[in-house]
Symmetry: none
Amino acid sequence: MSLLDRVRVVLIETTQPGNIGSSARAMKTMGLDRLHLVAPRLFPHDEATALAAGATDVLDRAVLHGALDPAIADCQLLVGASARRRGVALPELSPREAAAALLDAARGGVEVGLLFGTERTGLSNEELQRCHACVRIPANPAYSSLNLSQAVQVLSYELRIAALDSGEVVDPDPEAGPRERPATSAEMEGFFRHLDEALHAIDFHKGKDGTTITRRLRRLFLRAQMSEREVAILHGVLADTERMARLAGRG
Amino acid sequence: MSLLDRVRVVLIETTQPGNIGSSARAMKTMGLDRLHLVAPRLFPHDEATALAAGATDVLDRAVLHGALDPAIADCQLLVGASARRRGVALPELSPREAAAALLDAARGGVEVGLLFGTERTGLSNEELQRCHACVRIPANPAYSSLNLSQAVQVLSYELRIAALDSGEVVDPDPEAGPRERPATSAEMEGFFRHLDEALHAIDFHKGKDGTTITRRLRRLFLRAQMSEREVAILHGVLADTERMARLAGRG
């Protein structure tokens, strides 16, 4: 099993079926074959098959999802491809850094995902909020419009180079000790729901709109790449906080 | 003038006009715009224009040649893209090495060329013999068939990264905005003290020794490299938590 087998490419609401096919081809040339499609406009489709050329097996095994969350629920590191610099304060990685981070995580035995948004607008802010980091191909500022499959090609290429450079060996680092299992995306979402409830119980927002704060806290905790155990500890803190709010006659 | 302006991409006997268009687009996204076409089967062509998207200016300025030699006559370093290992005794460079070599030469003031053969068979041995080196994208041995424009994308990408790394191309960053000030160590310690007090107020440790948990939470929050603003938000959460504990008759 290659390290690249733990990397899934998630294409979200792809409009042109041809782009799905070219992306599958781009992936396969670089040794990636785990494609997840979230609500593609047209799939399966002749154009996708035609442009996949010899990579129709990647299309055949593609997993279809109606929404993003099920596509990433079991992923423990998510990197979103972003065509431009964003207002969201998410760590921005270069393609090379992103490849290293994804493979590092995969080396720890976890599933990782590389997310691509729809052709015209890329990932939405809501989708980026699921991500631990974003990756930006440093394109020509005067014309940064890479075709979807070209972006998939460049990032798959960097993943392959990183895998080759590392010898693709799953390297059990004797000094690292047993690493804690990173929290999955579903576990993080459960934590964020609990956090929202607790903030409500202690009346943190004081009647004001809490969206911005909530989003900031999401980013902070995603950035920390928490382990399952850390999430459990924080659930405990939130539970005790809610208990106090109840005793105080609130919540 | 950017160093990348001295790099020409030479497409030889391209069969599909769409590939010329996608290659132009791939080049422009990476800041390359000097395209030379040697005996293309169909050019100009609607399909080339369509797939060039916003890069039709690259097509408009493309230089057409009837044969290879005039396309490269004034070039002083030529690197040929090769899909597979060849019998020709030419130095084989990785994409990263090729980008470095091309830019090094360009830095010396010379024109350099990156050559791509026809879609089906790539560069002929005769064409490769014009080259100083060849470059091979280390593709999946089981499926190494990159589309022409995907190969152009990967190699243009490496050229851009090499140019950016050497400081010869500088990406302006108009959208980055002022970054938030990272929290100082003293601010983090202040936060950890407050966290300890709040955990005590909500009786999180239930009489047990909380040292391990406290240490874990420190690591978690330090790892997140919080900003001053994020620390302020969490102080607010802790203050409201303590308020609830007081209302509950504790703390």
